[in-house]
Amino acid sequence: MTGRRLVSLFAAVVLAWLCAAANAQTIAIVHAKAWTMTAPTPLENATVVIKEGKIASVAAGDPPPGGTRVIDAKGRAVTPGLIHPATHLGLLEVSSATDTVDSGTKASSLGADFDVQYALNFNSALIELARADGLTRAVSYPTHSGVPPFAGMGALVRLTEPGEILESAGVGVFVSIGNHRGEADASRAAQWELLRHALDAAKTASAPAGTSAGGAVGTSAGSAGRSPQVLALEPVLAGKVPLAISTNRESDIRQAIRLTRDYSLRVVIIGAAEAWRAADALAAAKVAVIVDPQANLPANFDELGTRLDNAALLRKAGVTVATAVLSGIHQSYNAGESLREGAGLAVANGLSYSDALRSITVVPAEIWGIAERCGTIAPGKDGDLVVWDGDPLEPSSAPLAVLVAGKEISLVTRQTRLRDRYLPKAGLAPAARREP
């Protein structure tokens, strides 16, 4: 018993460290239409028990254990907490005011080693809104660095409340390749070459002593002297974290596939507007994509082939597909809401409903290597769950309850506070609190 208590205590301490105000309360969600993401159909009348921050059980018709707080979903949809595969959450506040933006750096020598973890602002108003919209995890990535085509390293964030959101840093190295009009060395040939040269240099510098005869230009031999850029690229070369390439044109997508083969990398492509033209090759190379289901107008010549059924065509070919609205402001300002709207639109354009729901939960978890702990509703997984007031893929739906690490978080945001301040001034009754 003492041992078990110690384990519980340890778990609680870890949990508290993870999400500041966590408690070990047990919560049971009953009468749920549970999209476990472990099956293509939902589990009806499900009881999901969350203990000490983790999912303890999920089963149809189970009575909730005694002494637990019960959330009655009344037959409504319950999903894993949404996971945004590619956002800038925590790195910007008012994007037009550049002094509130930390997502990129130009005037520095930082390249692949530009690490956004140090900038994450957990008090950002964007984060509380995303969380109230059902987003519980996200990969926040840099837009650009001083050494193109590198943008830098992304961070995995968990939208705990309140406090620290960084879960792990350096979850991927991001590059951006393609139509960079008006910039020096704009040729995409140069962009691919610079990337390849950097990978070659890192490979050489990282090779065990004796094998790197002559060494590589610009790097010093020996582990102690390896440059930050080399250190950033080592996990990519080792296949431990993905190289995330923002690119859209078919020729660049095929270059990314070549790169995958030449260096034995794990590659994920962000944007991938013309990916449907290379669907079979992407599937064969096991290159995952993060596509924007709203994209159907070519913002530039790289995207001439953009089309609404990109996600559906890619899935049909067996490609791993995450979805996210990547253009405009929604990628960060409405990170939770737009994730669902995009997935819903993908369904309207041929993606199956379960694939669409997977594309914003378990697939991003797989892409970023965290599927062993989140993205599904299964025993042992994180207690990150959302109870929805309707179809989660309908933009007009919203969460009734959001659990992060087994704790029900507040759905109050700056926006609801403004609403409740001005409703009476407009002669209208204050809003009722949302209840499941």
């Binding site: 037009s96 108003a125 082939g305 639109l345």
Partner: protein, 494 residues
């Protein structure tokens, strides 16, 4: 002298004092008309020739008339649909009859007579065509390249006063955005210049029919509009260049100065009209536009976000006696609903855009719902070719936020936000926006509830012509840009 009163006098005219100078005036009418004919303003000539008391002020004509002709149309009866008429009514299992390009009847049990095509719409929904009151389709270059300046063709940014620019002179009829809008149920768009200049330029109202030039799309006989802008955009753009304005107060000063000049310009034309001066004022294209605002001939559509910017501009409008038809974006409209109502000014808003600039930090998703529930005039707008393909989803999101705040917003009500209310804002509510008999037959048959993300526009009619049919998409030509590009291997259906 306020513009509103002046307009009244010019339009009604005809008291005995004025009749005395009719003969004298007629000579001037001909002189001015001759000058205008040179400029191509035939429209104004024909109008004024038959209504002698009205002087053809140089800003009253349209030298760039529409050449739009409705596409080949058939009389059509839609049966068994859930009909939202755009005026606030929902008719379950309803029928809509279109004949000669007009709505003839809406109701139950309508019968098709000879030569009428019948569409079975059981399980589907029917609404008026969607109207986007704020679009940059055709001018925000797609695809964008380094051939275009930073601002694309969306605005002339060399001067904070671009009132002399007409956005129709830039519209690319082959912009893929038009085709995308049509395929999503949009039947009318107001193309506005961008909000960098204070006086951003004239707007144009178009129908997104496949066309090679903008005049083939231009809504015949539609009123004219001026886009204005306040707040961050003008002051930051010009301020950063070391030019005026670089502050909000500087913006207002420039706007007031411009309207003072316009008042004098208008007075000059009136003096010429009354014979008090022998020669007309020198034409000034900027002042033409602003004088048209003062007479009420040109509707003002104003980009403004912050509550204090909205009320300041209402005061400026009151000072010079013009009316602001609608504030666009208006993220803080919910804070000043009473003032907006009092001025009779509408707002055109997004459902959920917020935060990306300082004046949008307080925008909330309940904005539209609060303005509506408090009795204000509100509609959705796009400002984006992407959002413009899903204006009903904008309405759905805005209404959902309102419902969660306890407000009652059924589908038959919120459809107005994307149909009859923008029609009113464009001064076209006598022609479009509702399914009332006599209105243009701009009709959308939806695959289901238009407020669902899964729903698509199945058939889109403009003036009774089936301009897009999702079952026969190749009937509607796509944009020239995509002609001869690699095609998709297969179509994936929903």
């Amino acid at each position: 002298v306020t513009g509103g009163r002046s307009k009244e006098r010019l339009v009604t005219g005809g008291d005995s004092g004025e009749r005395e100078v009719v003969g004298q005036r007629a000579v001037r009418v001909l002189l001015v008309a001759a000058a205008l004919t040179v400029l191509g303003a035939v429209d104004s000539l024909t109008h004024t020739a038959s209504a002698a008391p009205r002087i053809p002020l140089p800003f009253a004509g349209d030298p760039y008339p529409s050449t739009y002709h409705p596409l080949l149309r058939a009389d059509t009866l839609i049966v068994g649909a859930t009909v939202l008429d755009g005026a606030g009514k929902r008719i379950d299992d309803g029928d809509v009859l279109m004949r000669d390009g007009k709505i003839v009847a809406v109701g139950h049990g309508l019968k098709a007579t000879g030569g009428v095509t019948t569409i079975d719409a059981h399980g589907r929904w029917v609404t008026p065509g969607i109207i986007d009151v704020h679009s940059h389709d055709g001018v925000y270059s797609i695809p964008s390249t380094s051939d275009d300046s930073d601002s694309s063709d969306v605005a002339e940014t060399s001067d904070p006063n671009a009132a002399d620019t007409w956005i129709e002179h830039a519209v690319n009829a082959q912009d893929p955005a038009f085709s995308a809008a049509l395929r999503s149920g949009v039947t009318t768009l107001q193309i506005l210049p961008g909000s960098t200049p204070l006086f951003s330029g004239r707007s144009v109202i178009v129908k997104p029919v496949p066309a090679a030039d903008v005049y083939s799309m231009k809504f015949p006989g539609a009123g004219r509009g001026l886009k204005m802008a306040c707040g961050e955009n003008p002051k930051s753009f010009f301020g950063e260049k070391g030019r005026a304005p670089n502050s909000r107060q500087g913006e207002i000063a420039l706007v007031r100065a411009a309207f003072l000049k316009a008042q004098a310009y208008l007075q000059g034309w009136r003096d010429y009209e009354s014979g008090a001066r022998a020669t007309p004022p020198d034409r000034d294209l900027k002042l033409d536009t602003l004088a048209g605002v003062l007479t009420g001939d040109i509707a003002v559509h104003m980009h403004c976000y912050r509550a204090s910017d909205l009320t300041t501009m209402l005061d400026v409008a009151a000072e010079f006696g013009f009316h602001i038809r609608a504030f666009h974006h208006a993220g803080e409209a919910y804070k000043v609903v009473d003032q907006l109502k009092k001025a009779g000014t509408c707002v055109a808003v997004w459902s959920d855009w917020w935060g990306f600039k300082m004046e949008l930090v307080d925008a909330i998703r309940e904005n539209a719902a609060i303005v509506d529930a408090a009795g204000g005039c509100v509609m959705m707008h796009s400002d984006s070719a992407t959002v413009g393909q899903r204006l009903t989803i904008e309405a759905a999101k805005a209404a959902a936020a309102g419902r969660r705040a306890g407000l009652n917003l059924p589908p038959e009500h919120i459809i107005r936000w994307v149909t009859s209310t923008p029609a009113k804002a464009l001064g076209l509510d006598d022609r479009i926006g509702t399914l009332a008999p006599g209105r243009n037959a701009d009709v959308v048959v939806w695959s289901g509830d238009p407020f669902s993300i899964y729903t698509k526009a199945d058939q889109v009619f403009i003036d009774g012509a089936l301009v897009f049919d999702r079952l026969k998409p190749s009937r509607t030509p796509g944009p020239d840009l995509l002609l001869g590009r690699p095609e998709a291997p297969t179509e994936v259906g929903p």
